[in-house]
């Protein structure tokens, strides 16, 4: 089999973009580009931005969720980690068990009144910047169980994204996480931090 290289531009056939870029790169690497072309080349490829936005971009793309499965939604959260809907393609596969190492709390499942102080404590132990996703109907708004035993998460901790569903499909959770990522990359202060002009949360120990 013979490889035919299109060294010359054939009249009547416009060169494709990839080939042009390839030739340009070759010229640049060999030092064959002239001043103007080189300046234009560099300008096209360098992105200037602020440090904030660069950091926000990096933070959004490397969220470390915490393994916080409470009930049924936890099984669907495990499905998100599974091979079909792979959360690792977005970079979020590093689920940390320790709150000190995680920055995303995915509250998956119903929060009972016995568990609420525990959840709050763990949220407080996470270091800034941190975000919380209320996955499922139960932690957002008590879901199916509007009774004495369940607390909606908004009552004791700030939540950034609510993902509806009972349980939400893994795709829905993925959508929620990506929405959070967009929010972080665009404007980290959006949501409750901006609404209440808050820098973070503080744990209030009763009786202290």
């Amino acid at each position: 089999m013979e490889i035919v290289r299109r060294e010359k531009l054939v009249p009547g056939h416009p060169p494709d973009d990839f080939r042009i870029r390839q030739l340009q790169a070759r010229d640049m690497l060999r030092g064959d580009m002239d001043e103007e072309a080189l300046e234009r080349y560099v300008e096209e490829r360098v992105v200037t931005t602020t440090v904030d936005r660069a950091v926000a971009w990096a933070r959004g793309n490397s969220l470390f969720p915490m393994t916080f499965g409470l009930a049924c939604c936890a099984i669907e959260m495990m499905s998100v980690v599974g091979a079909r809907l792979d959360i690792a393609r977005f970079g979020f596969e590093a689920f940390r068990a320790s709150p000190r190492q995680a920055d995303l709390l995915i509250l998956s499942g119903r929060v009972s009144i016995k568990m609420a102080p525990v959840v709050r404590r763990i949220y407080d132990q996470m270091l800034e910047p941190k975000w919380a996703i209320a996955m499922g109907a139960c932690c957002s708004s008590q879901g199916v169980f509007n009774n004495y035993a369940i607390v909606p998460a908004d009552k004791f901790m700030p939540v950034d994204v609510h993902v509806p569903g009972c349980p939400p499909r893994p795709e829905a959770l993925m959508h929620g996480v990506l929405k959070l990522r967009d929010m972080i990359q665009a404007d980290p202060k959006a949501g409750w931090r901006e609404r209440y002009e808050a820098a973070g949360t503080e744990e209030i120990v009763p009786g202290a």
């Binding site: 409470l70 049924c72 099984i75 499905s79 980690v81 599974g82 119903r110 009972s112 009774n147 120990v205």
Partner: protein, 415 residues
């Protein structure tokens, strides 16, 4: 806010009035009480364990539950019988068909309602699929605890196939409310049969592949073989049923002993173990997955024609096309959707064989359209009592392995 000095707060707590537990263990080392959970990677949900350790040896264990108590039984008293099904399904959240089956069985007992044969077979198919799915999640997360992390992805790959089948028959992946009082919600769609057969063709081989990975793995064998056995007497006294009891050699299985929903039409074996250690618990569940495949195949081959829900219009909704032509159908539909059917007063306890053991549902009705008491006898709630005798005087690593092999589901424990 004032600075909270945790150190002074802790030092100010006076404990001299609390009777002290022994501080020195049998071999003379100091006893340390360690709190595992409720947030812990290895506790399969929000289980809190107060472990008293002497070095690495567990001397005492106290499970503390209630961290996901949802008040399901109380909520169920507030809803009409039909509407209880979605609520009760969310109890043991890995075996949702079983929860619905136990509840519907109890209500059907009280109604003296007959379930058509086709519905029974469809129920069996979905129950056994749920059993396989529950065992897959158990195997995935259990091996994750042991350190064999790859198993997680393999098991969840099969689980996705089963969830596709559930989605095909009922529209939902989890908590499908497919099993209704009197039968099932809807007949299986075209293509379900073929897709299920494709799944059944590969599933037994997949189980063999998993066992190939694990059965000759030195680490898995060393962690599971001869660790934390418990004898049959103790298990029966503790009320343990299911794969834990079968691992010891007692072939008690409600599907064979007191068959329900046409289980006696099918031929399948009950895998039992010999020693009752962690490895037997593991092997019994793996073998059960293959047996479930056999049951599903037989049910699919022998699926009879007929209605998929009882024809008693006072209990089950009439088919939609009848609503356009029949006045009675319209009235029945209206009554069922607004008030629900009334169940004559009585009490019934309906036990079935769930993936974790005997799941029983107790329903008391007082003649109205809402149940007066619904109680689920959850197998994990009773099985968790066996954890302490099992891990006493074993290493803490064995505690993790035993907890993985015990397969507790906190949703069922706490309800």
């Amino acid at each position: 806010m004032s600075d909270v000095d945790y150190r002074t707060l802790e030092e100010s707590i006076e404990l001299s009035h609390v009777p002290t537990a022994p501080t020195v263990g049998e071999s003379g080392q100091e006893l340390l009480t360690l709190n595992m959970g409720p947030h812990h990677p290895a506790t399969h949900g929000v289980l809190r364990l107060l472990v008293t350790l002497e070095g690495e040896v567990v001397r005492d264990l106290k499970p503390i539950v209630g961290y996901v108590h949802t008040g399901i039984e109380k909520t169920a008293e507030d809803k009409s019988y039909w509407k209880v099904i979605p609520v009760i399904e969310r109890m043991d959240y890995l075996s949702y068909y079983f929860n619905a089956m136990a509840y519907c069985g109890a209500v059907e007992t009280l109604l003296d309602c007959e379930v058509p044969k086709r519905a029974q077979y469809l129920r069996v198919i979905h129950l056994e699929l749920n059993r396989i799915m529950s065992h897959l999640v158990w195997m995935g997360t259990g091996c994750l605890d042991l350190g064999a992390i790859s198993m997680f992805w393999y098991c969840f790959r099969e689980r996705e196939q089963i969830l596709d089948l559930f989605e095909m028959s009922s529209g939902q992946r989890m908590h499908t409310r497919y099993i209704q009082v009197g039968g099932v919600f809807e007949d299986i769609p075209r293509g379900f049969d073929q897709k299920l057969r494709e799944f059944l063709a590969i599933m037994p081989r997949r189980v063999d592949q998993y066992l190939d990975l694990l059965n000759r793995n030195e680490i898995v064998l060393r962690r599971l073989r001869h660790t934390c056995p418990l004898d049959e007497e103790a298990l029966l006294a503790l009320g343990v049923t299911g794969p834990l009891l079968r691992a010891v050699g007692n072939p008690w299985d409600l599907r064979k002993a007191m068959p329900y929903s046409s289980y006696d039409d099918f031929e399948f074996a009950i895998p039992i173990g010999t020693e009752g250690d962690n490895y037997d618990r593991f092997a019994v569940r793996a073998a059960e997955m293959k047996e479930s495949c056999k049951i599903i195949e037989q049910a699919l081959d022998g699926l009879p024609e007929g209605p998929f829900i009882t024809t008693d219009r006072k209990v089950a909704l009439p088919p939609r096309h009848e609503l356009a032509t029949s006045m009675e159908a319209l009235i029945h539909h209206f009554k069922l959707v607004t008030e629900g059917f009334r169940v004559p007063p009585g009490e019934a306890y309906y036990p079935i064989e769930a993936p974790r053991g005997e799941l029983g549902c107790f329903v008391r009705s007082d003649g109205s359209s809402k149940p007066a008491r619904v109680h689920m006898r959850d197998p994990s709630f009773v099985n968790i009592q066996a954890l302490e005798p099992m891990v006493k005087d074993s290493y803490i690593a064995d505690l993790i392995a035993t907890l993985a092999m015990l397969d507790p589901i906190l949703g069922g424990i706490d309800r």
